[in-house]
C-alpha cells in the first residue's frame, strides 16, 4: 500500500523500499515486516555502496599520510564530518565521530568529570525516561568523583513533571542530560524549554538525540544545547557510526576521553598536550567507512526530505495507534493524546508476557522489540517488567502494521483463556467477533 493519500504525493513507499536490499532479500522464505527501526534501522544501498566505494578506492589511515590513498581517505573522512555537521546545522569543529550514542554520552561524562567539572558538591540531573546509556555513564563517573544524580520524575502518562524539573534545575546542579524523544513511549520532551531553564541557571545541557534524528530535523543552532549525542545506525547509517556534537569552546576546555594516536600534540612520559578539535576526541584509527556511510545516510534522508518522512510516519502512527486502540486486550503506554506518540509506541497484551507476544509476531514475520528497552527505571514507573514496542521508518507500510494486527489477533487466540481473565467480557466479545 502506498501513502499516496498524504499531502506529499511524490513519496512512494514502494519505491523507497526498493532502496533497501534487505527488504528485497530473495533468499527469505517468509515476508518481513520490520517494525524495529528504533533499535537499528535498515540501510539503503547508497549507504552500503558508499562504504564499499571507500574500501575499493580510498582505504588508508587518515591524518597521517602523505600518500594518495591517505589523502583520499582523509578527504572522505573530513568531507563526511562536514556533511553530517551541515545535516545538524552544527559547527564541524565540534563534531566528533564515535561508535554510537552510548560512546558519545560516556565521552561527555568522562570529559567533564575528569577535568574536575563534576565534584562531590555538584549534581547531575537526568530523567526517569532515560535509556541506560544516559544513566550508567554518569554512575560510573560518580563512583570516582562522588557527585549526586537526580532524576526528573514523570506524570503517570510518562510525560515529564516540569514543576519538578524546574526545582531540580537549580544549584547544586551543574548539568542536565536528557533524552529528546523516548525510545519507549515515542514522546518528545519539551527540550527548548528545559534548555532555556537550565541555561538561565548556568547549567549545561547534554541531549540524547538517538530517537529524535530518525524522525525530525534537528538543528544545533536552533536547539542551543551544549552537547548532542546520536547513533548513525538508527538513521539509515551503518553500524558503528555515531556522533557527539559539542560547543567547540566547551569541548576545548574538557579533558580528552580516550588517549592515543591523533589526539595529541606532543607526548613525553611526563606530560602530554592535546591536539585541536575535533582530533582531540578521536583517538586511534577511526572507522572511516562508518563516517562515509553516515554522510551517505544524511544525503539519503535529505533526498527523501524530512517533511515527507514526517508526513509518512505520522500517517503510519495513526494507522498503528488506531489498530492498537481498537483491540480490547491491548494496553498502550503514553499520553492519551495519541498525536504526541511519534515514531514508536509501547504496548502490552493484557495478561501475556511481552516475550510471548514478540515470538508470535516473529512467526508472522513481524519484527517488534520486547523487553525493558534499556529503560528499567521507566519500566518501574509504568509498573511493568517489559513492553512490546513497534516503531516505524520511511520504508514501513500500512501492510506491515496490518500484519502486526494479525499477529496480535493470533496472540489473542493462542492466549485467549489468559486474556479473558484480564479483560472485561464485553470488550472480549467485541474482539472475538471482530
Amino acid at each position: 500500500m502506498t501513502t499516496s493519500a498524504h499531502p506529499l504525493a511524490h513519496f512512494d513507499v514502494q519505491e523507497i523500499r526498493k532502496d533497501f536490499p534487505i527488504l528485497n532479500d530473495g533468499t527469505r522464505t517468509r515476508p518481513l515486516s520490520y517494525l524495529d527501526s528504533a533499535a537499528t534501522s535498515q540501510k539503503p544501498a547508497v549507504v552500503l555502496n558508499a562504504m564499499h566505494d571507500y574500501y575499493v578506492h580510498a582505504n588508508a589511515n587518515v591524518h597521517r599520510g602523505v600518500h594518495e590513498l591517505g589523502d583520499a581517505a582523509t578527504s572522505r573522512f573530513e568531507h563526511a564530518r562536514h556533511r553530517v555537521a551541515r545535516f545538524l546545522n552544527a559547527d564541524p569543529r565540534g563534531l566528533i565521530f564515535v561508535r554510537n550514542t552510548t560512546e558519545a554520552l560516556n565521552l561527555v561524562a568522562t570529559g567533564i568529570a575528569r577535568q574536575g567539572g563534576l565534584m562531590a558538591s555538584d549534581r547531575v540531573v537526568l530523567s526517569v525516561l532515560e535509556h541506560h546509556s544516559n544513566i550508567v555513564p554518569w554512575q560510573l563517573e560518580r563512583s570516582t568523583h562522588g557527585f549526586a544524580i537526580a532524576a526528573i520524575p514523570l506524570h503517570p502518562d510518562g510525560t515529564l513533571d516540569m514543576d519538578e524539573a524546574r526545582k531540580l534545575l537549580a544549584p547544586p546542579t551543574k548539568l542536565l542530560s536528557i533524552t529528546y524523544q523516548s525510545n519507549v513511549l515515542g514522546t518528545v520532551t519539551p527540550l527548548k524549554e528545559l534548555i532555556a531553564m537550565a541555561h538561565e541557571a548556568g547549567i549545561l545541557v547534554a541531549v540524547d538525540g538517538a530517537q529524535r534524528v530518525p524522525h525530525a530535523r534537528v538543528d544545533m543552532k536552533d536547539l542551543n544545547c551544549d552537547f548532542f549525542a546520536m547513533s548513525g545506525h538508527k538513521v539509515y547509517g551503518p553500524m558503528g557510526s555515531g556522533i557527539l556534537w559539542g560547543k567547540p569552546e566547551l569541548l576545548s576546555s574538557m579533558s580528552p576521553f580516550l588517549g592515543g594516536g591523533s589526539m595529541i600534540d606532543t607526548v613525553t612520559f611526563e606530560r602530554t598536550t592535546w591536539a585541536e578539535l575535533p582530533q582531540k576526541f578521536e583517538a586511534g584509527t577511526p572507522d572511516v567507512a562508518a563516517a562515509v556511510g553516515l554522510a551517505a545516510a544524511c544525503d539519503y534522508i535529505d533526498s527523501l526530505t524530512y517533511e515527507a518522512i514526517e508526513a509518512h510516519e505520522k500517517d503510519l502512527m495513526q494507522h498503528l495507534l488506531h489498530m492498537l486502540d481498537s483491540l480490547p486486550y491491548i494496553d498502550v503506554y503514553g499520553p492519551n493524546d495519541r498525536e504526541r506518540i511519534v515514531g514508536a509506541v509501547s504496548f502490552n497484551v493484557r495478561g501475556v508476557h511481552a516475550h510471548d507476544v514478540g515470538t508470535i509476531c516473529d512467526r508472522h514475520g513481524v519484527a517488534i522489540r520486547v523487553g525493558h528497552h534499556c529503560c528499567q527505571p521507566l519500566m518501574r514507573h509504568l509498573g511493568v517488567p517489559a513492553t512490546a514496542r513497534a516503531s516505524v521508518a520511511a520504508y514501513v507500510t500500512h501492510d506491515d502494521i496490518d500484519s502486526l494486527g494479525e499477529a496480535l489477533a493470533d496472540v489473542a487466540s493462542i492466549f485467549g483463556q489468559v486474556i479473558t481473565q484480564h479483560t472485561s467480557p464485553a470488550s472480549q466479545m467485541e474482539h472475538r467477533h471482530a
Binding site: H353, H355, D356, T359, R363, H372, P385, I414, Q417, V418
Partner: protein
Amino acid sequence: MPEDDLYREIILEHASHPHHHGTVTSATHTTEGRNPVCGDEIALSWNEKDGKVSDIAFDGTGCSISQAAASILCDSVIGLPTSQALACARSFRAMLVEGTAPEDDMSDMAALQGVQAYPARVKCALLAWNLLAESLEAEEQSHD
C-alpha cells in the same frame, strides 16, 4: 500457521495453571536465578529425603515458556532420586541445546522440544532446569 510447534496446548495449560507453584515449606534446598535477556526470575525450593526429591515447587514470573518449563520440571522430578533428577535435567538441556531427540520417558518435557527453533527463547525453557542442574551438580561434587 501449521500445528503449533511452540505454544502447544500442553504448554499453555502448564503456563496458565502451573503445577507446584509456590514454595516448599522448610525446604532443604532453595536456589534462584535470572534470565539476563529479559530480567525474569525463578526460584526453586525442594526437599531432599532419602536421596529423593520428595517435594518441589517454583516461584517467580516470566513468559509462558519459562513458567511451563518450571511447572513441567516439578512434575517430572518429584519423587525421583536426585541422580535421576539430574539426569533428567541433562537430557532436557541436551534436547534444547544439542538437539538430541527426547527420550521416551520425558513425557511433558518433550512438549518443549519446539523451543529449539526459537533461539531467543531457549534461555526461557532452561531457566528453571539450569537452576536445578547446577544445584544438584554442586551437591554431587561436594559429596565426592
